[in-house]
């Protein structure tokens, strides 16, 4: 946590009707910058040389270098700027450093992490959370993982939680990485997937052996400190049949005037009868282009659960995708997106139901304020053989003023007549009656609005472990501070 003295309190502006206007949120909890002195920073832009340097630095096997170079070609082949989503013209790849690394080795003890980096994660509460409630933690700072550790008893069960870089140098795990890496999200998926595979660095490799169930979550935290840089971590999780894992990722960055880019990839393989919950609390700063790709393939009788809270970034394109390949597999998605001034967040989810008796239920919420734009996109594809597939999509939007915007764009492609697919969407505002009711019980207008918004978000925060639910409520409180109007 940041010290009180570090926090700058902004006084709300008051308009002619005596109502205060929201200013930029007090983000000082996340908004602190550490010096980059002595860091290894590769030149901006994208050339085969840079890609070769990254690969050489990581001493990668040939197949990986080949993959990177091919991806770079694909990146140049695929056209930029789709015309269907938020504007990305502010993002110029020639100004983005694809690799920035603190000069440090990966540590297993926080005391071995350089002081300013350690301080960053202390402020974000990561070591504390690790002691309290996590089975293992990975912490990435700019392009490299600086800390990775897992409880011994978890390691004893055969669980592997490491970086992909380390895994491909381990003869036992190199074939596993090679088998899965880049198979669920192909480099041709879209331009930024190609970019990702050309310059990826950091991220996590998790392997949960058959039948092993983790009592506590694993967490990776991604911090982007360097201005004008990109973060391209790759998360690869293999949950073997009958195993059970909860994985949490958190992300934040300080605010800069230059654009930052996040183009990570998350590939999740959920074996038969296994269960994986993937929770995200994303709070990138509001100069971030968050072009992240997440995908899961789910085996028979297995369950994939997504819990997603998106608060930050300037522009987001984010649609976690689930392929329900096995019969009777299940996908549940619960997400919330909070969009304020200068934010255009295009989020949603996709599900492809291929197995029989598969079931997907997706529930999304969005809150827009101060001219923020929220677009919820859902895509449901029911395959030809997915007899008795059932899918429901529900989207609820809350608008806090007249200048914000909220759109819902559902797409459905149903190729099996026995499928049942439903969609519902509502857009609402906080009624004056509700505010009056809460105020007449003693809540200030700000408290009343925050209470309503927290209540709206409650179905999502309920799904998070307590500490993260608290963090989410705090984020909402920060966003709502001075939010009267």
């Amino acid at each position: 946590m940041a010290d009180e003295k570090d926090r700058v309190t902004t006084r709300p502006e008051v308009d002619e009707r005596g109502r205060s206007k929201v200013q930029d949120v007090d983000r000082s909890l996340y908004d602190f910058v550490k010096s980059e002195e002595g860091y290894e920073r590769y030149a901006d832009g994208l050339t085969p040389d840079i890609v070769r340097s990254i690969s050489a630095k990581k001493d990668e096997p040939d197949w990986m270098l080949k993959m990177r170079l091919e991806a770079l070609e694909r990146f140049h082949d695929i056209d930029m700027a789709p015309n269907w989503g938020p504007d990305t013209s502010g993002l110029n790849m020639d100004d983005i450093s694809t690799y920035v690394s603190p000069k440090t080795k990966q540590a297993r003890d926080w005391n071995d992490v350089p002081a300013d980096i350690k301080d960053t994660f202390e402020r974000l509460g990561i070591p504390q959370a690790e002691r309290d409630s996590l089975a293992g933690v990975g912490a990435q700072y700019d392009s490299e993982i600086v800390y990775h550790n897992m409880r011994e008893e978890v390691a004893k069960q055969g669980v592997v939680y490491t970086t992909i870089e380390d895994a491909i140098h381990d003869p036992q795990w190199e074939p596993v990485v090679r088998k899965y890496f880049g198979t669920l999200i192909p480099m041709t998926d879209h331009k930024f997937a190609a970019l990702h595979y050309a310059v990826w660095s950091g991220g996590s490799f998790v392997y949960v052996p058959e039948g092993v169930s983790l009592d506590y979550p694993l967490q990776s935290y991604f911090r982007l400190n360097a201005s004008g840089a990109g973060q391209f971590e790759h998360t690869l999780i293999v949950v073997e049949p009958g195993a059970n894992l909860h994985f949490i990722e958190g992300c934040s960055a300080p605010k800069y005037y230059e654009a930052n880019l996040h183009a990570g990839a998350v590939e999740l393989f959920v074996g038969d009868g296994a269960r994986l919950r993937y929770s995200t609390i994303e709070n990138w700063s509001k100069n971030m282009y968050n072009l992240n790709t997440k995908r899961a393939r789910v085996g028979a009788d297995a369950t994939m659960e997504w819990v997603s809270g998106s608060f930050g970034s300037h522009v987001s394109y984010l649609y976690p995708t689930t392929i329900l390949q096995g019969d009777r597999s299940v996908c549940e998605y619960t997400g919330i997106t909070f969009s304020g001034a200068n934010q255009d967040l295009d989020t949603g989810c996709k599900v492809i139901l291929n197995g029989r008796d598969t079931r997907a239920s997706m529930s999304a919420k969005s809150i827009s304020k101060d001219g923020g734009v929220n677009t919820f996109r859902s895509s449901v594809v029911v395959g030809r053989h997915a007899d008795n597939a059932r899918c429901t999509v529900s989207c609820q939007s809350l608008m806090l003023d007249d200048i914000s915007r909220s759109d819902t764009i559902p797409a459905m492609d149903v190729r099996n007549r026995t499928a049942s697919v439903g969609h519902e969407a509502t857009i609402g505002r906080i009624s004056d009656d509700t505010i009056l009711y809460l105020m007449s019980r003693g809540c200030s207008e700000e408290e009343a609005r925050t209470m309503v918004v927290n209540g709206f978000a409650n179905p999502v925060s309920k799904e998070l472990p307590l500490e993260y639910a608290v963090e989410m409520n705090n984020l909402i409180k920060l966003e709502m501070e001075g939010a009267i109007g």
């Binding site: 004056d432 007449s440 003693g442 809540c443 207008e445 408290e447 209470m451 709206f456 409650n458």
Partner: protein, 259 residues
């Protein structure tokens, strides 16, 4: 004579395009029970809302003083903290906010009610028992999916927890079955007994008043307070309706035009 708690003087108010209340004078002493009666659409609820500070209504002239303080321009939350409570005809539903945490929040923000979690939990349990409410309500979302009677009970629960100096009950009895009505009556009695607070009952159901010691009765017609008198007025209205009051208002307005 009890000391004055609420003093409304020369109050006119309405929405932006429509005046509703005209030159209202009304005084409620500490601990007194007053009844405000009148035909539908007379402006009774509006008066309740104006006393609470509902921003839908603008005060064009006059003042509202409460407990020695001019509250005419205060926001509803400040009035609530000063000790005014308004129970609504149709309490709103607030999804995602558990009843218990809501109750805890609104009590903890008042220095005089701040207490430990354990004592608070006990107090809530006592009141709920008195109101014949199942404690499973506490984990439910505030008023969401509650029946009319259940919502009124939740209002009574808040009333008894907040212990206001003045409770304005706006048609708290409307739409209730006999059982719910008797529980609401119990709540009102408990408030009178335990909190020694003043009551302003807005109603046209005289049944709920039978078990109360009414100090004063006020009659409102078309936004005017046209009569004030003892409890016995209630029986009179019960028998004869508001016809005579409407006639006399029409007559007095006619005179004014002539004069």
């Amino acid at each position: 004579m009890a000391s004055e708690l609420l003093t409304i003087s020369g109050l006119s108010a309405g929405t932006e395009d429509k005046p509703i209340l005209h030159d209202i004078d009304l005084t409620v002493g500490a601990g007194e029970t007053h009844v405000l009666m009148g035909p539908n659409g007379a402006g009774k609820s509006t008066l309740g809302h104006v006393i609470m500070g509902d921003p839908v209504y603008k005060v064009s002239s006059g003042t509202i003083a409460f407990d020695g303080q001019d509250v005419t321009d205060l926001a509803p939350d400040k009035r609530s903290l000063a000790g005014i409570f308004l129970s609504y005809q149709a309490p709103v539903e607030v999804p995602g906010v558990p009843l218990y945490s809501f109750l805890r929040t609104i009590c903890q923000m008042r220095p005089e009610l701040k207490t430990t979690a354990r004592k608070f939990r006990q107090r809530v349990g006592q009141i709920m028992a008195e109101l014949d409410m199942d404690e499973s309500f506490l984990t439910r979302e505030l008023n969401v999916g509650f029946s009319g009677g259940e919502k009124k009970k939740v209002e009574m629960l808040q009333l008894l927890l907040l212990r206001p100096k003045l409770a304005i009950l706006d048609e708290t009895d409307s739409g209730l079955d006999v059982d719910a009505l008797s529980i609401v009556s119990k709540g009102i009695e408990a408030y009178r007994r335990d909190c020694d607070g003043a009551l302003l009952m807005i109603t046209h159901n005289t049944r709920i008043l039978e078990r109360l010691n009414v100090d004063r009765t006020h009659v409102m017609v078309r936004g005017h307070l046209v009569a004030e008198g003892p409890a016995s007025m209630i029986d009179d209205i019960d028998r004869n309706g508001f016809g005579t009051y409407e006639d006399s208002l029409a007559a007095s307005q006619g005179e004014k035009v002539e004069a």
